[in-house]
Subunit: 454 residues, 2 copies
């Protein structure tokens, strides 16, 4: 088997002969999506008519109704809702940060900031700023922290070709930076936004308090303002005020929206495709993850439109709560486990609606070889590689709990962190053809997994 | 040799061992560009301080001075200007088109249009519109053409994954559509803009008259207006007026701007890297081809910055006139031929400043195998393939006249025709990291060609 896979890898011509019917079907899928795709119009509805939809918010409830309706109208054999409790964090108003004095001299310089998701605040905190490059500097200067607002200047490493690599390296400042400073007596924390954008939009995103330390307010500052703050910190002492009002309301009822195309041969074996329905509150959740939502619906619509009848049952899932809790993904895996379902493969789109370049997978070596043997079938549509970087967040519980093979669409990454969790994540920053091509590659992969198994 | 190449292709691990030093040098090039790249700031200067720069225009003259200065400041061993006469077409004012009556009833519906480059006009032409899908329909209905304005609805085929393929298929309507209609007595021509953009911007670009037929005015209409015109044509007779004032002024003196890094071993053998300095008049020429211009300067800057001393002389060329004459590229090849220069390879960037995906080449089979053997070195930076689709327009004459191997950067194509020749081709639509990564991949390729020859 391994030897055969290797041979397949090395001989694309042979593969093409073997999979001739498949290339015809995949072209049919592609034509259907590129000619008649509804994903862009659906995204318009979700971003403009529903808007930002943080778990627990009224817009989130609206998104669930919208998703159920869209699934029903686009070919589902059945649609059901899977109830789960979701957190309900509220920003509580406009966030604000102002440099109020420099070297003892009063000033008033507004910074463009957003409170971090899950952070708590109840008004204004004012204090001198201790600006540090990173955690190492924080540790070296821990005796200076008490009573100050700590600013972390840690940013993306521009030399990384992959911005996701940079996000992986720097994300810890958003998640853990507040408590690490609170430990030494900080009154508040500001981080450099996790982006390399040339614009000044601040980028929010989830943080998590360590319950052992005071829960201090935490904000992210736009990258151009961050540059200014960092420069200022080198030559002056300065104080700032930060005003935030983040708080938690009681958990509320949310739902995964699940549609099915029933399998003809193995109706009790499942392939899952999904994206997450929730988004941050400060934007339209276009690339994060409106595009994943409409990819999911589009793939179902297209398979139905070309008359494809899957062997396995394909589930199309709009997950309830990825951003600040993962409750939807956890619920989906729990239900699957409780019902002893067999899950072949679960694929997510949660890295933006940009031109597809491939897929990252969390699969066995034999499965990886099988995926790679399909490259010649997918490369005409943009898939250039299968990497071993694991699946999306929402399908992670299914992998951990049931051992399912998982994957995630890997679109071009360069623009993702321009919009990720920022007010710029709006419909206008999604390109129709890039969006549709993502659905093409995902649908083709789902077709191959359904036909050949794993 | 061929066998060896095949082996190299199949064994990336072997290749990595062989080229270990190269991967270190390429990482150094990449780090230099991604950390310290000047391309984005240079593009800002070219687009915002020089602006649109059609050959012959005052802005074009300004662009030449700017280019020479930028080359000198960014590490050239020498910079020289290569004189060539360039055409001087002028739009002559704002273009206009209005639907003035529908089924005999007066109306006034402005369409968003641009005169095609090189087209002639001297005021307003009003006539009934004959809308045809394509040349086939024009031929079938040739008896109806006389005295009318012909509208061609031929658009991009959305099922093509490659928009450049669509451009190749449909570009003939822009280039030859006017004369093909004039042949049958048309008074004017309007084409659907060559784009799949969801915006309504019209897209200009070069056309060419057939001297055997009257030189009638010709415009392109924005795609949303095109949809409306096409729908209207199915249910009503309508007349429109089109106002254009395109005309030619006498040819003027232009220049290729040429910088060199002198070769240490083979100073009389040349490798060329270039982009074109001219652009259309209706935008900032950001992706077409400001990004090619700043790629060119950036590659030179980066090679110099890391202390790389090339074996061959590397020429960095800002070509004078690609858009409506190719005079710069022709001149460059003529001079090379007159001086009996040996040209190894000429690489252009003229497909936009989007994330690089590979290169298209016009090379021999043995050379192609050599390029492909370098894939493992380039793939970490985005290059996924070398295709055989030929080099850029400006390096074409060098290939035809001297048999030089040629190539062109192949960036992601999906957004290119959103901006190509339209008013949306502005600095704001270029992403800094995507731009820099193009320079990284090109510089790495130039380094490999310089080191190993072809």
């Amino acid at each position: 088997m391994k030897k055969l896979s290797l041979l397949l890898l090395l001989c694309p011509v042979l593969v093409n002969a073997q999979y001739r019917d498949d290339s015809v079907t995949i072209k049919k899928i592609s034509d259907e999506i590129l000619r008649n795709g509804k994903a862009y119009d659906l995204l318009y509805q979700l971003t403009k008519q529903v808007g930002g939809r943080l778990a627990g918010s009224p817009q989130f409830a609206k998104a669930i109704s919208w998703g159920k309706d869209a699934m029903e109208k686009n070919g589902a054999d059945q649609v059901f809702l899977q109830q789960c409790m979701v957190p309900h964090w509220s920003r509580g108003g406009a966030d604000k940060a102002v440099i109020i004095s420099v070297d003892g001299k009063k000033t008033s310089r507004n910074l463009d900031v957003l409170a971090l998701g899950n952070s708590l605040g109840s008004g204004t905190v004012s204090a001198e700023v201790l600006a540090v490059a990173d955690f190492d500097e924080l540790e070296r200067r821990k005796d200076e922290v008490k009573g100050k607002i700590v600013y972390y200047n840690a940013g993306f490493n521009p030399a990384n070709v992959s911005p996701f690599k940079s996000y992986g390296e720097t994300g810890i400042y958003r998640r853990s930076g507040p408590s690490r400073a609170a430990r030494y007596g900080a009154l508040g924390v500001m981080i450099r936004s996790l982006t390399e954008s040339t614009a000044n939009n601040p980028h929010t995103g989830a943080m998590q308090y360590n319950d052992s330390f005071p829960k201090i307010p935490a904000i992210a500052v736009g990258p151009r303002d961050a540059d200014e703050v960092w420069e200022l910190s080198k030559k002056a002492h300065f104080t700032m005020s930060m005003t935030t009002n983040g708080h938690f309301l009681p958990d509320t009822v949310g739902y995964n929206v699940v549609a099915e195309l029933r399998g003809t041969e193995f109706p009790d074996q499942y392939i899952t495709v999904g994206g997450h329905l929730d988004s941050w509150d400060v934007n339209e959740g276009a690339h994060d993850d409106g595009t994943g939502v409409v990819h999911t619906i589009e793939i179902m619509r297209a398979l139905k439109a070309i008359g494809y009848r899957p062997k396995h049952t394909i589930r199309f899932v709009l997950f309830a709560n990825e951003e600040n809790g993962l409750r939807g993904g956890i619920k989906y895996a729990e239900e699957a486990k409780a019902k002893n379902e067999k899950h072949l493969f679960a694929l997510e789109s949660d890295a933006g609606g940009f031109t597809p370049r491939g897929f990252s997978l969390g699969v066995s070596a034999a499965q990886l070889a099988k995926f790679r043997s399909w490259l010649p079938l997918l490369s005409p549509y943009g898939t250039a590689s299968f990497t071993e970087d694991g699946g999306g967040a929402d399908v992670g519980p299914l992998q951990r709990q049931l051992g399912a093979a998982v994957g995630e669409l890997n679109p071009d990454q360069q623009r993702y962190f321009d919009v990720h969790h920022a007010r710029s994540d709006v419909f206008e920053n999604v390109n129709k053809r890039e969006l549709l091509l993502g659905a093409v590659n995902m649908a083709a992969l789902i077709y191959l997994v359904d036909k050949y198994g794993l």
